[in-house]
């Protein structure tokens, strides 16, 4: 608990915080999640310094995301790819350094708000110029291959983990900044969209999922390639059934946050499992082990997002409008 916030704790609230534990300063869940986000940004930044990112292959990868997108979306992507191609070292160094600064800024308490705000802007820019809006406007978007784009989840997390409190009591961490109704709506939209993508014609063909998973083998270590091969074989000619099962799971996850806490926890566990399966089998850990991964992809981010919705007993000392908490600090809250 921050000292500033602690000073404003009413006796009743202090009691709710749990006596000695509260006064000692229990770990703040939101701050821990912010640090996890900072860690992923740092991972992104360091991955951006890899050899692959300074080669033409990186600009070709960016340019490839223009394919299938409407012209108004594709043109800026093509411009960006050309820029990266012509000034690979300079532009990529800037990209990596920006992400490094974002990571440090989020981890450094006095700058957490500034860094989170900047990360939203940066993430949205990368989502468009670097990921082609996660291909959501094309027919090839799939939750298994990273739709709706990993980087947009960074932005969503930055919003949900914004260090302010709108209500005295929030049922889960993500509700603290935007309120429970808005947080639940955002969750619903995200996971329903994933369910929709899972059922797109291009993803429910007999060999669609098989091809997607098998395509991740290239360049992976032997053991991971073998896992991918076996997973691909498991869904061979089962594309429709697998898509339906996946879509049903995603819908259950989507509505889970509206259920009572015990049931919500069950659906969040399901979300964590689905995210892990997507990350391991569909995304091969963001292809980081090939030396060509720009980020850990969406699976890890979906898992982190699920944790922000985990039901917690959160007690805020005072409404944010009357007693704003210091940036990035614990805001006089604790969660269990």
């Amino acid at each position: 608990m921050s000292e500033i916030a602690a000073a404003g704790v009413r006796p009743a609230a202090r009691s709710r915080l749990g006596g000695a534990e509260a006064s000692r300063g229990a770990p703040d869940v939101r701050r821990l999640l912010q640090l996890a986000l900072a860690g992923i940004w740092l991972l992104d930044a360091l991955l951006q310094y890899q050899s692959f990112m300074f080669s033409k292959a990186f600009s070709q990868m960016i340019g490839g995301t223009a394919s299938g997108n409407p012209g108004v979306v594709a043109s800026p992507i093509t411009w960006n790819a050309t820029l990266v191609e012509h000034h690979a070292v300079l532009v990529n160094s800037i990209f990596a350094t920006i992400q490094l600064i974002l990571a440090i800024g989020i981890a450094w308490r006095p700058t957490v708000r500034l860094a989170l705000a900047a990360s939203i802007a940066w993430a949205l820019g990368v989502w468009w110029f670097g990921e082609g809006l996660g291909m959501v406007l094309t027919s090839s978007a799939s939750p298994v291959n990273g739709a709706p784009g990993a980087v947009v989840i960074y932005a969503l997390l930055a919003v949900l983990l914004w260090p302010t409190d709108r209500s005295v009591s929030a049922p889960f961490t993500a509700a603290r900044a935007v309120g429970a109704p808005v947080a639940r709506a955002l969750w619903l939209v995200l996971w329903l969209s994933l369910a929709y993508f899972a059922l797109l014609p291009g993803n429910r063909g007999p060999q669609a999922l098989n091809g997607m998973i098998a395509g991740m083998e290239s360049g992976e270590p032997g053991w991971l390639a073998a896992i991918d091969r076996n997973a691909a074989a498991l869904v061979a000619h089962q594309g429709l059934a697998a898509s339906i099962v996946l879509a049903v799971a995603l819908v259950i996850i989507a509505v889970g946050v509206y259920l009572p806490a015990p049931a919500a926890k069950g659906t969040l566990v399901l979300a964590l499992v689905v995210a892990a399966v997507i990350w391991a089998f569909g995304e091969a850990f963001g292809t980081i082990l090939t030396g060509g991964g720009t980020d850990p992809n969406s699976g890890l981010l979906l898992a982190l997002l699920a944790l922000t919705y985990w039901p917690v007993r959160t007690a805020v000392t005072a409404p944010a409008r009357t007693a704003p908490a210091p940036a990035g600090a614990n805001e006089g809250t604790t969660a269990s």
Partner: protein, 259 residues
């Protein structure tokens, strides 16, 4: 290939860390105190020199085999200290104790030297990495490199958080060290006790065990110089923590670009 000037920047950063660590050792004068050990700063110094040599061929000092022995010993030493911490503070010290990050650092260094494969391994050290040979080595068992990188990133981010404010967990504090009798405080205590740590050492002559203390337990000491180990100037805890952050990030960077 990652441009050599980026590698040079990281190498320069490591030289700064090496210089700071050496400065801390000199300022603390651990050789004048019977029980004093400066394992943290010695480890920082060695790791920084080794990494600078890996990043920039012109900065290479010892052959790979010597570094493997050195980091093997350091890994064993910090493993011993982590176990000791766990016996004193409970199993949580295995990951969250003040020696755990140093164990990860030492083990990651050992792994890098052991796992580096051709073409860089054919030359002296990791000279290919700097771009002189036009090719880079790669690490065998890349998943292990990824795991090490994640751990290093995690500790670095945690250190940054703790350095910039009071510990969310209340486990660490930026207060200066409470001094134990007879100059038992170590040169590396600040770093060893975690980010911006307050630390308490056992009396002189005993085995070296430093434990993080909470803010309420810490008793800031207003006076004292290197001899008393109160952590002012270059001996301030934040200096060691900053060094550890720089090394952790650089090490994670090296692991990831060598995958």
């Amino acid at each position: 290939m990652t441009p050599s000037w980026i590698l040079d920047i990281f190498a320069a950063l490591m030289l700064v860390v090496a210089a700071v660590s050496a400065g801390r050792l000199v300022a603390a004068q651990p050789w004048r105190q019977r029980a004093a050990l400066a394992d943290i700063d010695v480890a920082h110094l060695l790791m920084a020199i080794a990494m600078a040599g890996m990043l920039a061929p012109s900065l290479q000092t010892l052959p790979n085999g010597a570094w493997e022995v050195i980091f093997g010993v350091l890994t064993a030493w910090f493993a011993y200290r982590v176990v000791r911490d766990a016996q004193v503070s409970g199993v949580r010290a295995l990951a969250g104790g003040h020696c755990a990050p140093h164990l990860i650092h030492a083990a990651a260094m050992l792994y890098m030297f052991l796992a580096l494969t051709a073409p860089a391994a054919h030359g002296s050290g990791m000279s290919g990495m700097g771009g002189a040979a036009g090719t880079m080595g790669t690490l065998s068992l890349p998943f292990l490199a990824f795991i090490f990188a994640l751990a290093l990133i995690g500790y670095s981010i945690w250190d940054l958080d703790q350095l910039s404010g009071p510990g969310a967990s209340g486990h660490y504090s930026l207060a200066v060290a409470r001094v134990a009798p007879a100059g038992a405080v170590l040169a590396g205590v600040g770093a060893g006790a975690g980010p911006g740590a307050a630390a308490v050492s056992e009396p002189a002559g005993s085995a070296v065990v430093t434990e993080p203390v909470t803010a309420s337990q810490a008793q800031p000491v207003g006076a004292g110089g290197p001899a008393s180990g109160t952590g002012r100037g270059i001996l301030a805890p934040w200096v060691a923590t900053s060094s550890r952050i720089a090394m952790g990030v650089t090490m994670a960077f090296m692991l990831l670009i060598l995958i």
